[in-house]
Subunit: 215 residues, 2 copies
Amino acid sequence: MAKVRVHSFGLSLDGFGAGRDQSLHDPLGVRGFDLMEWFLATRVWRAMHGQDGGETGVDNRMAEQGFANIGAWILGRNMFGPVRGPWPDESWKGWWGEEPPYHVPTFVLTHHARKPLEMKGGTTFHFVTDGIHAALERAKAAAGARDIRIGGGASTVRQYVQAGLVDELHLAVRPMLLGEGEPLFAGLDWRAVGYECFKHVAGERAMHVFLRRKA
Amino acid sequence: MAKVRVHSFGLSLDGFGAGRDQSLHDPLGVRGFDLMEWFLATRVWRAMHGQDGGETGVDNRMAEQGFANIGAWILGRNMFGPVRGPWPDESWKGWWGEEPPYHVPTFVLTHHARKPLEMKGGTTFHFVTDGIHAALERAKAAAGARDIRIGGGASTVRQYVQAGLVDELHLAVRPMLLGEGEPLFAGLDWRAVGYECFKHVAGERAMHVFLRRKA
């Protein structure tokens, strides 16, 4: 059965999924990019960016799993871009250039309507203004038998977790301190909502932890 | 030079160093004992409790390091026991029976005076009522050239970190959710205080992360 998954979500030791002050210059907030260091060295990442080589160890295997069998993505608006408030025009097309790494229908949560945006390589961004449940329904319809991946950021993941709508999460815990930023856990009792850890794997640059919603 | 160290401090994935509602029944709070699961399987733990056997892998090596070259300990009062407020009598002598695992002078932070308590095996509990700095000075005098180990709990560790008095910390991050309890990081910007991660080692049942105060 199709699952709703979070995968390759980088987390600092002190519990942040992004740094503070996200901007055009710092898509993951101040120092937030370091959360992805485990990913940058992998063959998967390099192939996504048209480069050869890269490591093929545990971190790479974890990254690979994140792209297997995904039929639709859901992104928070901040993960789509740094623009806030109503869209001034159609010029912002995501952080990823002409060919984003999604290659399937991708639903962007926003309070401000915008018409769908078709990109190269199979990604179409759909802007959903009627909330997380509506976005998930549309993503499920688009994905069919395949899984839905919730890309982030932290706030979007928390909303779906709090509603009990995420089946499985993979977190890449990085041995680093961000100090401040977007908390993943603080202020939300994941255990009470019904989540548990069920697996962990040591990677080269992160501890990979898997959580699921208890049956 | 002698260091002030925190070692073998168990931390849940969601950032808690103990569960809620510490009590005689739950010295580490509700479900907090699971934080120590990495330690219970080790040869070090078993030897401390007069048992043979136990694992001798990475987790065991980490546990061993925590007892090397320690000349004095500092404990928060909750780590010493569940008694709150003024000491009703001298009957509470710690969680550890007649021979506690410290074997050196051990300074207990409390607001309520009590005369020193000499136990078997070299541990003497000294009750310090004039704050964390005073306790550290006394511990340093007692330890001489050896290190001071700050045992915990989370609140005691945070106070010493916030004051910049801890040189090095070893955290054993467990792949588990506590949901609620005593936070180690939340509400305190460790990075701003001057701490950084400098090493991590994958253990059998925990990710071992080392932090230090930047020079």
